[in-house]
Symmetry: C2
Subunit: 627 residues, 2 copies
Amino acid sequence: MARIRFLPFEVEVEAEEGENVLHAAMRVGVHINASCGGAGVCNKCRVFLEEGRARGEELPDGGYKACTLVPDTDLVVRVPVESHLDRRALLRAPKRRATAWLAAAELRAVSPEPAFRRVFLELPPPDLSDNLPDLRRLKRALRERTGTEPEAEWNLLRSLPHVLREENFRVTVGLYDHPERNLPVIRQVWPGDRSGRGLAAAVDIGTTTLCAELVDLREGRVLAETSDYNPQISYGEDVISRIEFARREKGLALLSEKVRDRVGGLIRELCEKAGVAPEDLDLVSLAGNTVMTHLFLGLEPRFLRESPYVPVAAFYPPVPARELGLPVAEGAMAEFAPSVASYVGGDIVAGVVATGFFEEEPLTLFIDIGTNGEIVVGNRDFLACAACSAGPAFEGGGIRHGMRATSGAIEAVHINPHTLEPMILTIGGKRAKGICGSGIIALLANLFLTGLVDRSGKYRRDLDHPRLREGRDGWEYVVVWAEESATGEDIVFTEADIDNLIRAKGAMFAGYQTLLESVGLSVEAVERVILAGNFGSYLDLEQAITIGLLPDLPRDRFFFAGNSSLLGARLMALSRKYREKAVEVARMMTHFELSAHPGYMDYYMSALFLPHTNIEFFPSVKEKLEE
Amino acid sequence: MARIRFLPFEVEVEAEEGENVLHAAMRVGVHINASCGGAGVCNKCRVFLEEGRARGEELPDGGYKACTLVPDTDLVVRVPVESHLDRRALLRAPKRRATAWLAAAELRAVSPEPAFRRVFLELPPPDLSDNLPDLRRLKRALRERTGTEPEAEWNLLRSLPHVLREENFRVTVGLYDHPERNLPVIRQVWPGDRSGRGLAAAVDIGTTTLCAELVDLREGRVLAETSDYNPQISYGEDVISRIEFARREKGLALLSEKVRDRVGGLIRELCEKAGVAPEDLDLVSLAGNTVMTHLFLGLEPRFLRESPYVPVAAFYPPVPARELGLPVAEGAMAEFAPSVASYVGGDIVAGVVATGFFEEEPLTLFIDIGTNGEIVVGNRDFLACAACSAGPAFEGGGIRHGMRATSGAIEAVHINPHTLEPMILTIGGKRAKGICGSGIIALLANLFLTGLVDRSGKYRRDLDHPRLREGRDGWEYVVVWAEESATGEDIVFTEADIDNLIRAKGAMFAGYQTLLESVGLSVEAVERVILAGNFGSYLDLEQAITIGLLPDLPRDRFFFAGNSSLLGARLMALSRKYREKAVEVARMMTHFELSAHPGYMDYYMSALFLPHTNIEFFPSVKEKLEE
């Protein structure tokens, strides 16, 4: 790893493997003009190499494009005057992410104790003095080994005599502990010893993204991971439009099939990566929000969005996985993390299980930010939750040049407070196509701190700057000029966009307040904030607090849990205890309907400012503004 | 009902509705020459009407054909001299059938307590203060009603929200008590109140015949009954040839499909007869021998006939009935009576359950005569059983003119001891095509008692009678001359036929002896003999004892149970208690392998005489012979 020292600021940063200088500068809070997002076309991110060796594109004056410059050794880099006017061009503080949350899986060694076990048996072959029926012979041996006689399903009997005799009554039995039954079930019998295999897939069924892992059920190791978009996206971006689509003729069946097919594809991909056969998968553990789980199972989602918002089920029975078309062992089972309510689903329950705070003392606020934001508050004594309809702004929806976090999306922005010129980074270092969630939050935080936008979310009309102008939808800031964008158009951020974003963050903040008040607490009482979900991981903590999306608490109380839904699904696959914990969490969690709370609307209205009507809630932001 | 008095014998009989004079005479033991079986063609069964009115075909001399004569009033009928020479032309005793066994179902009122129940619930519709998921709402109500929370299967969830809302949350739940689980399962939910319906089909899967009943699960009444041949007959007459056929490619699938289709057809027929819909059938209770049950379920039957004779299962898991292609309610379950061994099957267990002797004091011998004869001995303290490979003679197999008991089969025979002329009756009063099981036994008993056949089963060579001759297969008796038969050939009974029949009855008798000896008892100790199965019902007790097929015990110890397998299946459908009893019986029953018993072969060899080598075993036959 190479160190980069930026002059004249004397700021140092450890560059990550293959990271370029522009990217490292953004991380450490050094502003370098850059308007093409790192695509190497705007030639504005000029820096001078004072010490060390690096590869990159040279400019005629002897400088380098910072977005192409990758260190071979430690470097000393000088940022030229056009990028900074004085030290104030340094970002106020290095960009801060929440500390990674060491979830239960990592903290405590999970000893695998999966609901699906493979047991190898050597049965005595029958003779005239012991000619018990095949099934009885098998059950007798299982009783001797496990102390119980499992139930057998009838369709097992068709192959049983052949399987038993294939390797002279040496067989492996797949036993499944059904969560509601007193006896395990024999789900499959293989000839010979297959007890060394036995895998599970853990799947997070996100509205946008499907994430999957392949797990070894004996050792608990993750063998492979993959992800892809949820193909239902073509039929609606958010859960509401999917519910609408499901009302069409065969709409529900189509949505269900699409996502199941894709998850099947991911499972095949995982198996290829790990060099195993899909037939070795005994368990599929899935976690998704209530709508996603309903659609996956082909359950009517309609009543989820009609008052009084009734799911078909919150505790989903286990399903023989082949009945869902998944490429797995014949006897494999699929299990779904239980939901709490129509808009607090299995992904949240899985996240709570994974992070384990429900078994600990500190009062914790667990937040999953998104179109449908979910909030859980509690500790080992209680759990309360609420869903928060924030709208799609965090995913780029309702934002003129908003887009999902894919290649070409502006994901990080800094605006020089003097020149008001932006420094942007795009995903993949491509020419900018638009702005994704984290970019939108960064933009607003920067516009606000540089004074381009006032506390009510309006652009300052009195500033004369080429990037600030009145466009067809009102006032806007030009983030990328047409000649540097991938679209050939100016990429702008409008007052209407700001308004949408403020509504979204206001809904979340009012959500915390209302939920905490419902249990007799205030925001200050929160000892720990866990940010769940992908979005949480990419969020810049300071910026999120600056715009009032997250409460202004000491920064060391914040943690990010990553895809805690996937982690929870993995834990549930690995251990029946975690499956039981999920049931416990879902049962224990009290759901509050925010819209039914009389205070919610007031809190919401008060939150429609930057960072909030009551600046005293945000002392650190107040301090920054006063500087 | 009309009384008929036969002169000159002064014997009276109550004619049954529509019964002709010939038939009534056979029943009461009056010999009338009749060689066409009642087809009205031989003109030999001439009688004279002395008093009363009757319809029938007159003969030129003023007599009537007895086989056409049906009384309108009480009659006095004179049998002319050609039919009798003296009073000895009277059969020795009226034909005696075993007393009907009043089985458990009739004896004790069975209060229905079926494993499948319909429960009507009026759920409170959801509102914002009570927006539990649909499934939870249903379970909550079930807990309130039944005290337990049943398990739900996932596929139920697809229709659940619509079903609940169809009649505003008034629903009927179909609950199934799975024999191996602690909680019932919700198998189906119907809109509105359907608790008044709820039917079951009881089915006896015989090797030859399928019998089915439709039962009301609330009141226990039989609503309809029907039967048909087992369509597998086309692929093999007996279980062995079916097992052979099943080894062909797709043979097993074909046999399975054929019988399931036909049972499905019978269920539809039952529903039509009773004016109900197949969708009202919640339960199908089936009883069959081990091979039939294996074939029905599509289980590999091959190892049943290869030493060490191992069934796939003896306790069959319940099966969702639609998975077997049966036309029933969506959630209906099919249950199978448990087997004991490869050749002592669910039909026998069902029969034992139905007759109830396993709960009573008297030592009972339960016999099902057939190609595969089954014997059970025991009482409330123990049960032992054995299978007895008697060969197909009782079903007409291996007998030159043997046939199954269908239209045109000679079912009853009397031979005039003086003229040695036969009186025969055929099924349906048609010209004779052949001889069925009961006819074969009657023939041998008559040939033996008239002295035509000696104790070793050989025809007397010294008698000069046109019906006794040496044919192409050795000595034979002509039962029906070609001109009076349906086939245009003489119908004969050969010494080879006699030999086959003696082997068959010898196998059965040696079976009783061996099984009884295995438990330390002798034939004399038997306090009750229950004849199960259709064949048992048609058997003439005196004749069966005469040839040594049944032991020579006081006649009042004999009972016939009819189709006790079907009755058992009905009881198991009606009540979980009977389902448990079946398990208890199957578990309790000790199976003896006769061929493994050192004494069996000796018993068998000794039984290859008429009635037995040791005539002292058959005192009543000895007495008849001495007369």
